[in-house]
């Protein structure tokens, strides 16, 4: 082997510090925030222009309204105006799809963006945490799938058979509530060949304080008792409608803990979530109970 090739080998062995990825991601996040800001300023500017135009049009209208008595049309138009500016919104920070060894990976990472700047709420830390967790999950899931693949092939499985498994790893998110009071969303990681590692994390942010909302914040008094009673009633109701729940002996519902998973729905009500198999057979999937809705 030539000396150049040896040198190339040593070069390829240069150790990559873990910090590299963090610092690169930081720069990308910074840049994307700036991009988003630029875009939203541009949009707001455009919207302002439209509104100015409408005000002028309205002034003209008023002159004729009394005579024509067609103000209902104008009222309708006003109602259609979009609401300007929330405090914050959820955006996709990064999405990508890869496929290697017939393992498909699809990742969509959310990020919180503050629209109003002077709220004093900082979301960098949360965003960083979400990003790290999503990347971590995807990385581990790929490793698990690769292990599965190795084991499958070593035990006599063929590549064609492996391909038919259609392994898919998904990381994505779903917005539950996004208004001026709350941001509520869930980030999920799933592997379509096993349920054992599926993960979902709920984020509920109170926009007046910038802090995570707890059930205690949303409900008065002995909230645990209140929620438990409510859930028991709902289970009884759903059972009589034919739904199957585990009994307490089978590992069914016995009461919530302080860190029970929940999100905030469009009615601003907390919704308690139980994972698949947690209190009912797998066929029921995730089970949800809205608290405070009728």
């Amino acid at each position: 082997m030539g000396r150049l090739e040896k040198m190339k080998e040593r070069y390829d062995e240069i150790v990559i510090p873990e910090e590299l990825n963090i610092r690169v991601q930081q720069e990308i996040m910074k840049s994307q925030r700036q991009q988003a800001e630029k875009n939203s300023i541009r949009q707001r500017y455009r919207l302002k222009k439209v509104i100015h135009g409408m005000e002028a049009a309205a002034a003209v209208c008023i002159l004729f309204i009394v005579a024509l008595n067609t103000n209902s049309v104008f009222a309708k138009e006003v109602a259609q105006l979009p609401i300007i500016g929330g405090l914050a919104q959820i955006l996709t920070f990064r999405s990508y799809e890869t496929e290697k060894d017939d393992i498909a990976v699809s990742v969509e990472i959310p990020t919180i963006e503050m629209i109003t700047e002077d709220t004093g709420i900082t979301v960098e830390k949360i965003n960083q945490e979400i990003l790290e967790q999503c990347n971590q999950y995807a990385k581990e899931a790929v490793m698990r799938a690769e292990e599965y693949r190795t084991a499958f092939l070593e035990t006599g499985g063929t590549l064609e058979e492996w391909k038919k498994h259609n392994i898919k790893i998904t990381v994505n998110y779903e917005i539950k509530q996004q208004n001026n009071e709350y941001l509520s969303f869930v980030v999920r990681g799933t592997e379509n060949w096993t349920n054992a590692y599926n993960k979902s994390k709920y984020y509920n942010l109170d926009l007046s304080t910038g802090k995570f909302v707890t059930l205690k914040d949303m409900l008065d008094g002995d909230y645990i008792e209140l929620v438990n009673k409510n859930i028991r009633e709902q289970i009884a109701e759903r059972q009589s409608a034919g739904e199957i729940f585990f009994t307490a002996e089978e590992g069914g519902f016995t009461g919530i803990s302080e860190d029970v998973k929940f999100y905030i729905n469009k009615n601003n009500h907390p919704v308690i979530v139980f994972e698949k198999y947690e209190i009912a057979p797998g066929a029921s999937g995730e089970i949800e109970f809205e608290i405070g809705g009728n």
């Binding site: 030539g2 090739e5 990559i16 990308i28 994307q32 990064r94």
Partner: protein, 166 residues
């Protein structure tokens, strides 16, 4: 269109960050400096993403920024060393009389900066001469000449070198 290029650039950076680090490390020989060089290259590239002409140009365009950052970093560092009154400076000229089969990395460091760069891009990053030409700004023939000269100075087996040049 610009938005798509921006996304592609991000994707390119994320996928190739390890390569960038190796390049930076080969220039700076220092972890912290290499990280700094990559980080500021990423920062500058993203800020200037509107200057990318098309998707195919992303690679050479980014490497140009990266190598610039490495060289700037080196200059700064050398200044610091000078002001700190350290006499121990690396010889930047080629010395006669080294032994064949010695430490090739050390020999490489004795070459002119741009020759070093060309050799690194060619052999480590496995780039085409055309790519190297657009990264360094030298025309194709100059790149070839510098590459040959560098290899000769390294007393590399010319046959091996020939395999690499084409």
């Amino acid at each position: 269109m610009k938005q798509i290029l921006y996304e592609r650039l991000i994707q390119y950076i994320l996928e190739n960050q390890d390569r960038f680090y190796r390049v930076a490390y080969s220039y700076t020989k220092h972890q912290e400096d290499a990280l700094d060089a990559v980080q500021s290259a990423v920062c500058k590239a993203l800020e200037a993403h509107k200057n990318i002409k098309n998707e195919d140009a992303i690679k050479t365009w980014f490497y140009r920024i990266l190598i610039n950052e490495c060289l700037t970093g080196l200059k700064k560092r050398n200044k610091v060393i000078l002001t700190a009154d350290v006499v121990e400076q690396k010889a930047v000229y080629y010395e006669e009389g080294y032994e064949q089969g010695g430490d090739i990395e050390q020999e490489l460091e004795k070459l002119e900066m741009d020759v070093q760069g060309i050799i690194k891009l060619r052999f480590f990053e496995e780039m085409s001469l055309k790519e190297i030409s657009s990264i360094t700004g030298f025309n194709l023939n100059t790149v070839k000449t510098k590459l040959y000269r560098g290899l000769k100075l390294l007393k590399e087996n010319i046959q091996e070198a020939d395999l690499w040049v084409d």
